[in-house]
Amino acid sequence: MTEPPLLEVRDLSVSFPQASGIVRAVRGISYTVNQGEFLGIVGESGSGKSVSSMAVMGLLPRNAVVTGDVLLRGESLLGRDDRELSRLRGKEIAMIFQDPLSALTPVYTVGNQIAEGLMLHDKGLGAKAAAVRAVELLRVVGIPAPERRVNAFPHEFSGGMRQRVMIAIAIANDPNLIIADEPTTALDVTIQAQILEVLQKAKELTGAAVVLITHDLGVVAGNADRIAVMYAGKLVETGAVDDVFTRPVMPYTIGLLRSVPNLVTAGRTRLVPLEGRPPSLSNLPPGCPFEPRCPIAVSACTTEEPPLLQLRGGHDAACIRAGEIESGVLHPSDVFPRPEPVAEGAKVVNERESILSINGLVKHFPLTAGMVFKKQIGTVKAVDGIDLEIRGGEVLGLVGESGCGKSTTILEVLEMTSPQVGSITIAGRDVAELSKAERLSMRKDVQIVFQDPMAALDPRLTIEDIVGEPLTVHGTSRTERRRRVAELLDLVGLEHTMAGRYPHEFSGGQRQRVGIARALATSPKLLVLDEPVSALDVSIQAGIMNLLEDLKLQLGLSYLFVAHDLAVVRQIADTVAVMYLGRIVESGEVGEVFARPHHPYTQALMSAVPIPDPEAERSRVRILLDGDLPSPTDEISGCNFHGRCPLFKLLDPARQQRCLTEDPHLRVIDTTSAACHHVDQNTLQPL
């Protein structure tokens, strides 16, 4: 046991001197990574995850003040000059970034960039040999037709493929340590599953240790051996993944774990919200940084910051009351109890009449080329004949990967004009037949909540003006508006004294509450929610989800809930529709679709969602999809999923022929509707 660990970070601190004070982004963290180990670092946005790993790589901006030490096999990395560091980088340590487009040079081919890295570190390697090795690496990371693709430029690749190239470059020189900073955050779940698979493969091939930075607990549960939780620039809990997930000790970890919706349990229990926001790192008050949000804080918590202390075999936590929690005196469910559901009496029972009905909706965009003489060179089939139905008091979850047509669908609903093909009926009225005045008054009934709460609120208006804006359209008097705004703010859980403030003074979760209050101003019947929680930190999502659930029950609202996160949809929706390339491929009652999906795409989508439970993750069989979402301009004959369909590959040629020539339509199968010819042949086992 004389061998030093592969990577040892000792009391690392990073601060950025700024006009407004010193930002202490990382405040004394220590951890080690052993050869071949997989460490997952999780934490909220701004907790210092990126900064601490940038410090390890020596990639911080010049104004950063770094103290402490970083040792690679016992040798210090800090204070080395740039040349030495770049030699180490790539050869010993490789880094994978969230945004591969900015990490790849746009003017060189992908092959050149891989070869360049290879030759830089292996002077004896000739250009020919490097090119051959580049092709080989691309094959390893799963780029189809690598001989051809090696000559492509980065912009010709999709996000997922670029990330594969980054992994290829990272493993090119057989590094001992790979640091990946949110490598899959910008990607869809099915692509994320592919990339994580490639990362695992790369780890096996090179025997390297991996440090994976992510905010997704599910990703950590499924991949990492050890987890480190960061909060306000400190490590607050570390340990083996199973240990921390089953017996978390630090209240922040407990809150985090209890707040994430879990695909397996979602919809049955309420989420546990973790309110508040992390402290500002520029002048931290003394004491535990989690104290303002901690439900079990005691007075001692405000005086001294608890250090990270060893509990039992390799499980450390930083909390004054760690002993009580560990010994079971305080149970995690006492720390963050589940909130009570809305009382029966407060519920509004809705007549189950149709609120929104979409029939055969089509929206095609012409794709034109040429600057002066525009000519049509194709059609983007953004929405290609879909039916949706929402009844009073119901939530329809619309799920699908980015680019599948979800946003176009909701924009068509909100425009309230006659669609290209098909019809949209809101509360029994066909929108194509509305007069201008009727359309204006119908806008009262349908309101929208956007994904990014900062972008959706005019930064120059006060909260009062923002929330009251829908009322100005319908001629509400100023005093009445003010009264209503106060009422709405109360309803969404904000102080009505905040009405005079501006959006930037609020946290992300509070801003989303403002957005919801605005949407409720005209007492709508239908709320269109476009990814309402995906821009929020996980800990805050739960509070918003609970609010939406409560509002639905209290006000008898219907939601069209658009999301890519299946667990979130499972939590709130009554019915679900799965969209793929402008079509609905499966729809039905949410419990049925999630328990027994029939369409191979639905199955793949579900199996790609990481579950924040290491044990469940290990026992899962993933159905991986091949390749990326085809471009919506492609003319695909037959079933538009056949190029990626995992079931298609298992079929005999006669059946495959049917997939290739005949377009499947939605039909009822058991309890759901699916658009697949061969549901009876489906032997795929998701989850």
């Binding site: 990126s50 969230q98 929208i448 990014d452 208006l461 804006e469 004294t497 403030r501």
Partner: protein, 310 residues
């Protein structure tokens, strides 16, 4: 990289929550920030003090003068600065000081009207074109490009017989009409990107009308640009007026502007320099000072000069 956009907003002012919503401060923190930065720019103060000083002088300068612009002191014609004629007199005995103040007054009025009016036209035309898009945008863009290729000075020269006989306000209007195009293009581009912002979409789906959306959401969000443009527009308008008048196509005697005075002083600039020099100095100082203010404003607003954007 997430590194570069700090996620933690500044400290929330807790006392603000206790203030009555109706009385809460209305200026957004962005405006406050710009003001803070302006305040610490010496250029701004130098410019602002000179501009204010010149405005005061233009208003009050004649009260202390011994002569009015129209008086003729024939005994003392063509004399240099003296205790009686501070800036000297011209060939027909008119007091250069009185004429300069009166010319400055006219030039200032023209500049202060034409600059902001041009900006106003730019704001509305640009915002409507950018917001409406489609046909309306195509027509307006075509018009803007057409006006841009027209030689504005030449047109004003051609039109000068029309406004020679009319009030100087007509000239002012013409100057404004030829000075908004570039800014309109900038505003149009800004509006196009604002139109896709979600708060604008949200307003549209609430049923808020186009003029209200432009007034409430688009223009306030380009306000800083407009303020800069209006300031620098003052400089441009005074420039245009001076040039036109200098060549005899702008303000006509008996009215005077700085351009008229420069034109009158030019032939004798070497023999009797005071006739040319004093109006020229006043003009240069004025333009310089307004430019300083505009420049300082631009720097204070410039989004690339810090990470303080909201």
């Amino acid at each position: 990289m997430a590194l570069l956009d700090p996620t933690t907003q500044g400290e929330v002012d807790l006392t603000a929550a206790l203030v009555d919503p109706g009385k809460a401060p209305r200026n957004s923190s962005r405006a406050r920030l710009i003001w803070l930065r302006l305040r610490s720019t010496p250029r701004f103060w130098v410019g602002a003090v000179i501009v204010v000083g010149m405005i005061v002088w233009a208003i009050a300068g004649l009260w202390i003068a011994k002569w009015s612009p129209l008086d003729q002191d024939l005994i003392n014609s063509s004399t240099g600065p003296s205790t009686s004629h501070w800036f000297g007199t011209d060939d027909i005995g008119q007091d250069i000081y009185a004429e300069t103040v009166s010319g400055l007054r006219k030039s200032l009025v023209i500049g202060l009207i034409a600059g902001p009016v041009g900006t106003l036209i730019a704001a509305f035309v640009g915002a409507f074109a950018g917001y409406l898009g489609g046909k309306a945008d195509a027509v307006i863009s075509w018009l803007i490009n057409f006006l841009l290729v027209l030689p504005a000075f030449f047109i004003l020269v051609l039109l000068s017989p029309v406004f020679k006989s009319l009030s100087f306000l007509v000239l002012t209007a013409f100057i404004a009409m030829f000075s908004w195009m570039i800014m309109a293009q900038v505003i149009r581009a800004q509006t196009k990107s604002l139109r896709d912002r979600e708060f604008v979409k949200a307003a549209r789906f609430m049923g808020v009308g186009t003029p209200t959306i432009i007034r409430r959401h688009i223009l306030p969000n380009v306000a800083s640009l407009l303020i800069i443009d209006a300031t620098l527009g003052v400089v441009a308008a005074i420039d245009s007026e001076t040039a036109l008048s200098y060549f005899g196509f702008g303000i006509q005697r008996p009215q005077v502007s700085l351009g008229v005075l420069l034109a009158d002083g030019t032939p004798s600039a070497t023999t009797r320099p005071w006739m040319f020099l004093f109006p020229a100095i006043v003009l240069i100082v004025l333009l310089f000072a307004v430019s300083l203010v505009g420049d300082a404003l631009r720097d204070a607003v410039d989004p690339t000069s810090g990470n303080t954007r909201d």
